[in-house]
Subunit: 324 residues, 2 copies
């Protein structure tokens, strides 16, 4: 449970200064000594000597991204992994993060300890230092955390550099993440870094709001996506949801959020068999599917077409915050 | 007013995607083109060639850091300036920022426009690029924003490098910021950068939780602060508050938060007259006061003493988040 009614078990009992000391203890080696880590006005790091710096920020809110059915270790892990997935989507390497906690005074110390242990484990797994942060107060019962992650990439893969004729690929399976994958996912970090080295990979992003919404960002002006509907890797969770939701399995695969898979495009001249074979060797546990290609429309940015029938695919939306 | 009951005037009417387009429009030149600015999975910047990178993060929460009596331009400006003050405290230069919005669906578009115009103006003033962000949903009526600011400094001034014998200086006047200074303050950026070049300046921080709490961070182990109580620059606002609060003026000066002044230490051998004269030439509008010095205790980290009477000063606390 996020909140407690017993004052001595809540963060109000500790107060901000003592809580910061607790957090440093919970984080252990993931928090380097000040001024590299927590303790000064800013975190200080030696500037990178080459390449590009990447910066991304993502929040996690109680009642939206998690609830009391999820254990706090998984909440902490999810916050880190959401941001790692953005670095992965550019083929980068994560490096250091700062964390803003927005927290009501009734949040339980025990819950927060679990949250930070999840953060610590996940930071260790990806060699991320947690170097600083901020604590501020919200009304009861609330908890939000915002992580900003800095990383680097020699040559970041952008969303906007795909070309007409490119094949469209996705990793993993899509849809139904609400049944568990929304926090159990593994960011495709190694896959992204490997693709970033390939000149045949033209553009890349991660799927966070659903293929239906996100794919549009990979399409250049005057192009459309020709999709192999029978190739879309529908997840078991999407199939399960379709039994009760009244929606088609494919609608779940296109429109559910939080897949955290990579969506990327490969040059039209790519030897697909060769490419898929080397993928298989390198990432035997990560499914790879070619789901279509980018085609000219001649006019404006077009729809997604079913490559078999030539008919438009209706699932062009995805997860939208704020819409009610 | 932050919130509206008219759906067509709320962010729910726009939804996330359209709101992001609005925000890019509102920000104008402060948001560079993607991938340097908003639009890709991460913001991309060329890594610094030398010096140190600084990173700081700070939140602003409705009902805590601002309310409906404050106009949204000032809220946006305050968020930027709070973070700039942290960069100033290390003698750095701010560079680029990412912004996470945590927002209920009833937040008014008009209010948000004002907020972003305040951000734009303030970013322009300090040459900050706003390069990316995140939008997520909160329960009605809520608004929080978390800014993470990256900057750099050739040789950042730390909090922990003061020495026995150092003089303690503060800029401006202290206390009573609740009467207006909490958002009308000017971060001491030029002053911090100038001090960072001086080898006689040993340590520096900004006053955000009050002198009584913050000064402790500047004291090395086995030292205490000998303070000239009649020299503490008590603000007019602190004096005004003392009329009704039942507290002494000095307690307001020591314990009120959000002064956003610089607190720093100068080597014991500093020619104070010379130093204060060159400050006066360089920053004629920024008050400078020597409020005491750092002295050995021989034992553990000591209290603050009244230099005249040798008695301990009672105001050793400051603003604490979460304490109820």
């Amino acid at each position: 449970m996020l909140a407690t009614k017993t004052r001595t078990q809540s963060v109000a009992h500790l107060g901000e200064s003592a809580l910061i000391e607790q957090i440093k203890f919970w984080l252990g080696p993931v928090n380097p000594p000040s001024p590299q880590g927590i303790g000064d006005d800013c975190a200080v790091s030696v500037a990178l000597k080459e390449g590009n710096q990447l910066t991304t920020t993502d929040a996690i809110n109680y009642g939206y991204h998690f609830d009391d059915s999820m254990n706090p270790e998984n909440v902490g892990a999810k916050l880190i992994k959401r941001n790692v997935s953005d670095i992965a989507a550019m083929g980068g390497t994560p490096e250091s993060a700062v964390l803003a906690l927005l927290c009501s005074s009734d949040v339980s110390i025990d819950w927060l300890k679990g949250f930070f242990l999840g953060i610590r484990d996940t930071c260790e797994r990806y060699s991320i230092s947690l170097v600083g942060g901020d604590i501020s107060t919200l009304k009861a019962t609330s908890f939000s955390a915002v992580l900003t992650l800095n990383g680097y990439a020699e040559e970041p893969k952008l969303r906007t550099s795909s070309r007409v004729g490119d094949f469209i690929y996705t990793t993993g399976t899509l849809g139904g993440s609400i049944l568990g994958k929304h926090y159990q996912f593994e960011p495709r970090l190694s896959e992204g870094q490997w693709l970033a080295k390939s000149p045949e990979c033209h553009a890349m992003m991660d799927l966070s709001d659903g293929l239906g919404k996100d794919l549009n960002a990979l399409l250049p002006e005057n192009t459309m996506a020709d999709l192999f509907l029978d190739q879309i890797p529908v997840s078991e969770a999407a199939k399960k949801l379709a039994h009760t939701s009244g929606l088609e399995e494919l609608e779940h695969a296109f429109c559910d959020g939080e897949d955290y898979e990579l969506l990327f495009t490969m040059d039209a001249q790519t030897d697909k068999t060769e490419f898929e074979k080397s993928w298989q060797n390198k990432f035997p546990n990560t499914q790879l599917t070619c789901i279509g290609s980018i085609q000219n429309t001649g006019v404006e940015k077009g729809p997604y077409l079913d490559a078999k029938t030539g008919k438009p695919i209706p699932w062009v939306y995805g997860f939208e915050h704020l819409k009610t």
